[in-house]
């Protein structure tokens, strides 16, 4: 594992973005079950709410509430194309660190299993800050990341362990597509970079990014936080 100063944009291009671009279709076919916290966050939004899904993947959360409008974005063109099929929503290709939206505009945002792919603490906080900057006053963002504390999972990570890890994605052997090229090769394995959050770390990142934690918790191998932009310090003079 490289030291954190060799991580950053180029590192993520290789160990996150290139991987998702290649596994998009297969990844998408395995992603259909929404996390309960995400479902309840989205389903309680009032009709007519407008918001962002930053790092939307295949857009599986877009179908949850058709009376809101979500502008979804992903770094992967192949995933954004899949996400774009959900009406009445939209999907574009964008980087979490340079979101192409007007500031202080949106009622809500979700960032589900995204920020943990950024490879330095500065970049993770910048990502959260960028999302918060798009929210209107009182707007809320749900941020959801993988936890270090996953005693119950087959991966066996837990408190005190290494937080920066590579996680394999195994793509099963050839089906119908490109049979000549892939036949006999069996499975392909891709390695994705993850930063596993320890307890309390997500809340620290929210505060460092200029947010206030409204609510936070743990849900099956993940930490989550609902954050709102900190009100601008009003001069009392």
């Amino acid at each position: 594992m490289p030291e954190s100063d060799s991580r950053g944009e180029a590192y993520e291009a290789e160990h996150v973005h290139a991987v998702y671009e290649q596994i998009a279709a297969h990844f998408s076919s395995t992603r259909y079950k929404p996390w309960p916290i995400v479902s309840s966050f989205l389903s309680t939004l009032p009709a007519g709410s407008i918001g962002l899904d930053v790092g939307c993947g295949n857009g599986k959360y877009l179908a949850l509430n058709p009376s809101i409008y979500t502008l979804a974005s992903d770094r992967s063109t192949n995933l954004a194309k899949i996400a774009a099929s959900h009406q009445p929503h939209s999907a574009i290709v964008a980087d979490n660190l340079a979101l192409p939206h007007p500031l202080k505009t949106f009622d809500f945002a979700i960032s589900i299993a995204v920020v943990h792919h950024l490879s330095t603490v500065e970049r993770r906080r910048e990502a959260v800050g960028e999302i918060l900057a798009m929210l209107r006053e009182g707007g809320r963002a749900l941020v959801y990341v993988w936890a270090l504390e996953q005693k119950g999972s087959r991966r066996g990570w837990d408190k005190g362990g290494e937080q920066d890890v590579m996680v394999p994605w195994v793509m099963k052997g050839p089906k119908q597509e490109k049979p000549a090229k892939r036949r006999g090769k069996g499975e392909r394995t891709f390695q994705r970079y993850y930063h596993l959050y320890r307890k309390g770390e997500l809340e620290e990142d929210v505060v460092a990014a200029g947010g206030t934690v409204v609510e936070s918790g743990y849900e099956k191998d993940n930490w989550w936080a609902i954050a709102t932009p900190r009100e601008a310090e009003v001069s009392t003079a």
């Binding site: 007519g48 058709p66 009376s67 502008l71 939209s90 574009i92 964008a94």
Partner: protein, 161 residues
Amino acid sequence: MKLLTLNFLTCARKACKSTTLAFPLRPKDAELEIVEADLEPLFIRNILPRVEWEALRTLCQDLGLPQLPPAAPEPAALFAPNPSDPSIPSDKLVRPGKEGEGEGEGEGEGEEGAPTQTLKDLHHVLLETTIREGKLVCGNCGHAYAVKEGIANFLLPSHLV
């Protein structure tokens, strides 16, 4: 990419995001495509207050679409009067149908009359009129973002980040 999307987009560059020049991004060499979408009258009504009308007018002009009125339609212009209104002769009634069922959204929901042509036109402009190919240009820095197969790409070349 539907035109509604452009209402929520600006230049991705930090220096541009806070300027008014960057919004809306201006389409260039745009190839339009009409993609039919189910009419959801309540969605249109709810989203309308969030649409920057002036910007939408500019876009329609840029794209050679029919000109929009100077001001956004009032909510009352979106639905024909309620059929229970005794001032309307019963043979002129149009059953409002049950669009938007499952919204579960408090009082008055489902009381609207039939969607007017104004509402249908808005639906057509915002949700069914899409940019399939072309560029979106920032009025502040001049950077052009590509739209390919209906997907706009806002990744910046590293020297612009």
